[in-house]
């Protein structure tokens, strides 16, 4: 062995980094905590003042809460909200679990493709899809009218609480599907095989073994869907408000925007109530982070003669809930009036698409694109470092970070919006800068969606052995060098996935923005919402189509790069 001179030459000790790891970690922690906790302090404060924060001389009072609880409309809104959320949860969980079983445990033809298509509603822009539903099935909707005029069939209305919960369930069903799918993939299929060996027929195995094993997943998915439904804004506002069915979120929105004398204190109090109720239901969202299970070959239950009827039902579901709304949206963007009475080609027009070229619509597209690119980049970087501080450092407060990083998912979007509204108002020049520019909306969107980045990064990081960083530390690298040279490069696929997901979410998000938009800082979602309510549906449909198209293209490119069909991402 050639050892001559080897041990004799000594190597200088590693130098200290110019950037102390502790400082970087502290800055990251402070920034993350300030961004996430920051908006709630002024919100709580605003709810306990006798006049809006922008008026001088307020005093402490619980009057906003007294007003709120004394308003019978608020209680009616709660009853509606709970009914809506309960129905939504039931529909979404039952169907989602059934689809998950069909796609993972049976010989349904094309089950892999169905399993990916069924995820579409959660990836497509939710507001756009709701608009599509309204265009087709809503009061005066294209197919609704067609059925009643041509066939004299009165299709059920989607502007009732039951109807709205069907629409919301179609949007949230992928959560139940993904949760059950992950649980089924993780479950040891030998448990089912054992039942088969013991003489149980496939149906019996399904009802006695498979479905009972799913119970925790059903409970988790149900809780998450329930809480998301409580906080939903788009459907209540677009379908409920015209019929005078108010929900908590739309009650808060309408009280804020439409009341002759706006009552910010009361809205803030309402927001606090909503926040508390939702958090009680949700507990720690960490429980709902499902880390994808290992996929193993499952022995399949044979569906027999039911194979093709079930396939047809699956296809019909996707047709009704995803394809037709998107087509309806496309049609609405290309005709002057959407009506079955006149053939659409006689009403064809490019006018709505041309409208996107200037004014508020063009501004919205520009702003949304800008904040989606910048926001996704900055958030990916920040969450990546925060995740490393949380899981790969000795920073004293590191254990608080996972909770803080997941927390925004537990907060309804409109509450983030109200929170940032007060936060910007209370922070002087810096706040004014954010309040008067599109960056203020970007920050709110980023904070709202940053848990997604964490949810994507954490499982990947957990799979990167800690011995890899320890080896770098032992080799003389400090925390930052180790992170930069070893851990972050290994995390690259997850960073890219997080970026894509954030890009899509920030592009399509809307509810935090409704309290923050000003002339000049419009973003697509908020513009769609306000203009649809004002009745200019054509350009809004065109705008929604832009969202759908960009989302689909981005996701397809992403899928191509990573050679997968669709990502399983949580959404709200």
């Amino acid at each position: 062995m050639a050892t001559g001179g080897y041990a004799a030459e000594s190597v200088p000790p590693p130098r200290r980094s110019w950037l102390p790891a502790g400082l970087l970690q502290t800055l990251t922690w402070v920034l993350v905590v300030a961004l996430i906790v920051g908006p709630f302090v002024p919100l709580l404060y605003a709810s306990l003042r006798d006049r809006p924060l922008y008026e001088a001389g307020g005093v402490f009072t619980v009057q906003p809460y007294r007003d709120l609880f004394g308003d019978s409309a608020f209680w009616r809104a709660w009853v509606n909200t709970l009914e809506f959320a309960a129905l939504t949860t039931t529909f979404a969980v039952v169907l989602g679990a059934a689809f998950a079983i069909l796609c993972t445990r049976t010989d349904l033809p094309g089950r892999r493709v169905w399993g990916r298509l069924v995820l579409l509603p959660i990836l497509l822009p939710s507001l756009g899809i709701v608009l599509g539903w309204i265009a087709v099935w809503g009061p005066g909707g294209y197919l609704k009218q067609w059925f009643s005029q041509k066939l004299h069939i009165d299709t059920p209305g989607i502007d009732t609480i039951v109807g709205m919960s069907v629409v919301e369930a179609a949007r949230l069903l992928p959560i139940a599907f993904l949760t059950c799918q992950a649980a089924l993939a993780r479950a040891d299929s030998s448990l089912e095989d054992a039942a088969r060996s013991a003489g149980a027929a496939p149906m019996r195995v399904l009802t006695r073994i498979t479905i009972p094993m799913l119970r925790p997943a059903l409970l988790n998915a149900g809780t998450l869907i329930f809480t998301l439904a409580i906080a939903a804004l788009g459907i209540p506002l677009l379908l409920g408000t015209p019929r005078n069915i108010n929900f908590v979120s739309s009650y808060l929105y309408n009280t804020w925007t439409n009341a002759a004398a706006p009552d910010p204190g009361s809205v803030s109090a309402g927001a606090m109530v909503l926040l508390v109720v939702r958090n009680r239901l949700l507990g720690s969202e960490a429980r709902f982070v499902s880390v994808g299970g290992r996929s193993s070959r499952q022995d399949l239950l044979s569906l027999g003669a039911l194979r093709w009827p079930l396939t047809a039902l699956f296809a019909l579901y996707l047709l009704l809930t995803t394809v037709i709304p998107v087509l309806g949206l496309a049609l609405m963007s290309l005709v002057t009036v959407l009506t079955p009475l006149i053939a659409p080609w006689d009403l064809f027009t490019w006018e709505h698409w041309r409208a996107l070229n200037d004014g508020v619509f063009a501004r919205s597209i520009r702003n949304s694109a800008l904040i989606a690119v910048v926001g996704a980049t900055v958030t990916t970087a920040l969450v990546a470092i925060a995740t490393l501080v949380a899981h790969r450092s000795r920073f004293p407060a590191r254990r608080t970070l996972p909770f803080v990083l997941l927390y925004p998912r537990a907060i309804p979007g409109i509450i983030i919006g109200i929170g940032f509204f007060w936060a910007y108002l209370e922070t002087g020049g810096l706040g004014d800068f954010f309040r008067d520019s599109v960056w203020g909306i970007m920050v709110a969107f980023c904070v709202r969606n940053l848990p997604l980045a964490y949810i994507v990064m954490y499982p990947t990081l957990a799979r990167i052995s800690e011995e890899l960083d320890r080896a770098a530390r032992a080799a003389g690298a400090g925390w930052w060098t180790t992170s930069r040279r070893i851990v972050l490069p290994l995390l690259r696929p997850a960073l890219f996935a997080a970026f894509i997901l954030l890009f899509v979410e920030i592009l399509n998000d809307y509810d935090p923005a409704v309290f923050l938009v000003k002339p000049g800082t419009e973003v697509m979602g908020a513009t769609m919402l306000t203009h649809f309510i004002q009745g200019s549906v054509g350009p809004v449909a065109a705008l929604a189509m832009v969202q759908v198209a960009v989302t689909v293209v981005v996701l397809l490119v992403f899928a191509k790069v990573f050679n997968i069909g669709a990502t399983g991402a949580d959404d709200a």
């Binding site: 041990a7 590693p14 080799a475």
Partner: protein
């Protein structure tokens, strides 16, 4: 100047004492093994030396440099301890070539490019991996990855080398070769080395000295021969190799010899020992199976003191030897023999100096 001093380390995780007053010293150039079952604290000890865990109290020093001293609230960060460490998973960075893996510690130390190249080549030659320097880790076998990990730990001339179960991911054949190879390399370089394992064969075959741990406590320190032949506790006797434990009441004790009345039988067992034990006290002695001598039964030979008559309960053929499960009344004995003895009765002889009092 590269001896290692570890003094009274204590580390508690919640209720549990992971390290309970662990202390030892490793001489320069020595290969020192921490042996024990999983969860005994050996890895915690190693990671405390490496700087990845902070004991609650105690002191760690290498040569003149104190790495950790709870009393002085001193803890040198892991990256400034200049130790070489090979992890159980090897931890070869998957996104870097073999060359880049080895160059990383030198780049961190801001060496010149030419110097990095020379040193990496030198160490690659040392571990016989020169032709593979442009490969990525996934293109290497487990044994090759292990060599890369070892090379990376050596390339910056660390003051000491720490090995954390480095052979546990290799298959049995490769493991034996790797043992010899690492031992040779360590001896050639004269590197002070701490080696952690739960495998007694590895510990016995490679070490200059072995420290046996259990439940966070040091049970025994000694050469492999001492640990195997003269275990001072029941745990060490049972953990290191197979063992017969024989309990009995002390009948006589005089200068260097104790005679036991073996529990549940009429047999006597004379034990050679330096220690003393009061008459009528209970003792347990350990006897290695290979120290038990077997012979076909001869009338009168089995006189009841150290030579007993036994019944054969089971015989297993293990290729190079037979393993006997014998019964002397209620007492079960294991023994080995190079040849098969006829019949189902066998006389055993347990030499007095093959017995060690463990309890």
């Amino acid at each position: 100047m590269r001896e290692i001093h570890v003094e009274s380390l204590v580390k508690t995780f919640g209720e549990q004492r992971a390290l309970d007053d662990v202390g030892f010293a490793v001489a320069e150039g020595e290969l020192f093994t921490l042996l024990g079952p999983s969860g005994c604290g050996k890895s915690t000890t190693l990671m405390s030396i490496a700087g990845f865990q902070q004991p609650d109290s105690g002191r760690i020093a290498v040569g003149d440099t104190t790495f950790f001293d709870a009393a002085r609230r001193l803890s040198v960060p892991a990256e400034r301890r200049n130790l070489g460490i090979v992890f159980q998973s090897y931890a070869v960075w998957p996104h870097m070539t073999v060359f880049d893996n080895l160059a990383f510690p030198l780049r961190v130390r801001k060496l010149k490019r030419s110097e990095i190249r020379t040193r990496v080549r030198e160490v690659l030659e040392l571990v016989e991996m020169t032709p593979l320097e442009q490969r990525y880790p996934h293109q290497l076998s487990g044994g090759q990855q292990q060599r890369v990990a070892l090379a990376r730990a050596l390339v910056y001339s660390p003051s000491v080398l720490l090995l954390d179960e480095p052979f546990s991911n290799l298959d049995a054949k490769l493991r034996e070769r790797a043992r010899t190879w690492v031992k040779d390399l360590q001896r050639t370089l004269g590197l002070t080395t701490i080696f952690v394992t739960h495998d007694q064969d590895e510990a016995l075959s490679m070490s200059d000295r072995v420290l046996v741990m259990n439940q966070g406590q040091v049970l025994q320190v000694g050469t492999p021969e001492e640990i195997y032949r003269r275990p001072t506790s029941r745990f060490v006797a049972e953990f290191v190799g197979r063992v017969n434990l024989i309990s009995g009441r002390v009948e006589r004790a005089d200068g260097g010899k104790i005679v036991l009345a073996v529990d549940g039988t009429t047999h006597r067992l004379a034990v050679a020992t330096d220690g003393d034990a009061p008459v009528d006290s209970q003792l347990t002695v350990a006897v290695r199976p290979e120290a038990v001598l077997l012979a076909p039964p001869r009338d009168g030979a089995a006189n009841g003191t150290n030579t007993w008559e036994t019944t054969v309960h089971a015989v297993a053929f293990l290729g190079d030897h037979y393993e006997y499960e014998l019964e002397a009344g209620p007492l079960a004995l294991s023994a080995v023999s190079s040849r098969l003895l006829p019949g189902d009765r066998i006389d055993v002889h347990i030499p007095a100096d093959a017995c060690t009092v463990v309890e």
